[in-house]
């Protein structure tokens, strides 16, 4: 197990796994029946890259590594919780964006992220995020004339009111 806990070896194994999936998907690429005369098909480059990737990953796995750097032992004590919190917030932001639109989803994302990282009190974080997103919205839409999605719920609310 200790032998496997090596950053280079774990990286090489992950690359091999990715390459295996890539190779499986490459087999599904339809090959153009019409030969354009170049001798190259849509599969040629992907398969060439698969071969190259396998060779490089194998060398990293097999080559004796004097400078072994453990991965699991190195990273167990890191601050994973706030990272997981931010990743979760980004996922929620990506999911809610089409529904809540740019302004509401952005205010909520920044509000929770500021507060979650301990920037200030919950109300202060809310005011800062509201002012920031409001200013940005005004700059992008009123000055640069860009369209920012108001969100399906906002559009629905607007249609109900009219």
């Amino acid at each position: 197990m200790r032998q496997l806990d090596d950053k280079t070896r774990i990286g090489a194994l992950l690359l091999l796994a990715f390459t295996a999936v890539y190779a499986l998907l490459a087999r599904r690429i339809p090959v153009d029946a019409l030969d354009d005369g170049s001798g190259m098909t849509s599969q040629s480059l992907p398969f060439g890259l698969v071969a190259l990737s396998v060779v490089l990953a194998t060398i990293q796995l097999v080559k004796p590594n004097a400078d072994r750097r453990p991965f699991l032992a190195d990273h167990r004590a890191l601050a994973w919780r706030p990272v997981a919190f931010l990743v979760l917030l980004m996922v929620i932001y990506a999911i809610t964006f089409p529904w809540l639109g740019f302004v509401v989803s952005s205010v909520l994302f920044l509000w929770l992220a500021f507060f979650g990282l301990g920037a200030a009190t919950v109300w202060r974080c809310g005011v800062v995020s509201l002012l920031f997103v409001g200013a940005l919205w005004a700059l992008l839409t009123q000055v640069f004339g860009l369209y920012l999605d108001p969100g399906a719920l906002m559009a629905w609310a607007g249609s109900v009111r009219t």
């Binding site: 280079t8 992950l14 690429i29 170049s38 849509s42 990953a57 990506a94 500021f114 940005l136």
Partner: protein, 497 residues
Amino acid sequence: MIEGIQTGLVTAFSPLNLLMVLLGCFAGTLIGMLPGLGPVSAIALMIPITYSLEPSSALILIAGVYYGAIFGGSTSAILINAPGVSGAVATAFDGYPMARTGKAGKALAIAAYSSFAGGTIGAILLFLFVPVLAKWSLSFHSADYFALMLFGLTAVAAFSGRGQVLKALSMAVLGLMLSTVGEDPSGIQRFTLGITDLYDGIGFLLLSMATFALAEALISVLRPADDSAGGHPNASTGLGSLKLGRSDVREVVPAAGRSSILGFLVGILPGAGATIASFLAYGTERNLAPQAAKDQFGRGSVRGLAAPEAANNAASTGSFVPLLTLGIPGSATTAVMLGALVSYGVQPGPRLYIDSPAIFWSVIISMYVGNIVLLILNLPLIPYIARLLQVPRPYLIPLILFFSLMGVYLVSFNTFDLSLMVIVGCIALIVRLLEYPMAPMLLGFILGGMLEDNLRRALLISDGSFAFLWDRPITATIMALTVLSLLVPVFHSLFRD
């Protein structure tokens, strides 16, 4: 020619046009600093405003916006490791480490001076060699482009630390693999998994923002102690001095000079552009550096910052050669510029230089005036721009994440990209923790499409024979350089122990 230059000078230096270039540089810098809004978007945003102006004033305003946006992109790359445009990726390699160690002011000043040097040398070369260079750029065939792309890929050795060449090569191959997602040159869908949002492939901005800005922000949360590491009193938040010491000047001047010439020559080639120029310049400078200086690359090397900055600006100037002399836009930015020129009634092409020398030269001179104004305008602003780093971490990190997500959304207006970016960012975080370098992956991704395109075309021309690799002297020379620069570090890495 002299008359044309005189008319160009008079037009460019009129008070109204000087005001235009000033406004353009300021607006361009602000827009360029926002991730996702690079020179292309900045110019596109300005075109409707310029319709009310005289064509010459409009062109001058656009020139200011263009250079301002390039500098703005470098600023966000240096301060928050968010290279919003591909040309600024190599700037982040050493610019960001400098900012982290309390030298943000110096990094921004070097970027400004080097960009200015690149613009100046580019403009001089443009003045001297426009007709000859236009002909030379046309003599490049697909085979030469393919060889040039391969040569560009060998720059990965420059982005790998000691004994990390194999890791760097693996990441470059990974980047090439990612570049195959989407429609191939013959119109066949590859690796799209039936998802229509992937038909156009993965966006460059998405990949660069996810692997640099997003992953970097998450790592700084993961390892909060690292932000104050190094013991420097100004570390990570301070501006530091803007002044360059003698040793800095001694390193910056030759690096900027060499990289400007290299960048200009690469910029002339349609399709090559500022990104390849900046990567090549970075790789070349690292290869030329003595061992001690070589180890500094990626850790805040002054040369490593000056080289890509000078090269990308010189390449931007060089890209005007095919645009103005042949009417061929060599990049997305020059394509937008071409649209703007045509809408003002200026038709770039082989006859422009002969029929309307005044317009030809006023465009070139106004580009250069934009460069000068940018330097004068931005140097005093550096202390204010760098204050961005003094924003407390609990505010700064969510803002970096937000700007990265928003930047990607502003390019595609597609919410699928937001989800994809979070996934890529999380994978990039793991890959970075495994100590695999990300820059080679981006380089592979940038060059992948062009590499396959030119390989296909070259094979088609040579009836499927690989003899095109050595048939023409120019291709053979580039290939020889490629093999040489690839084998030396690989052998060094394999037999070092």
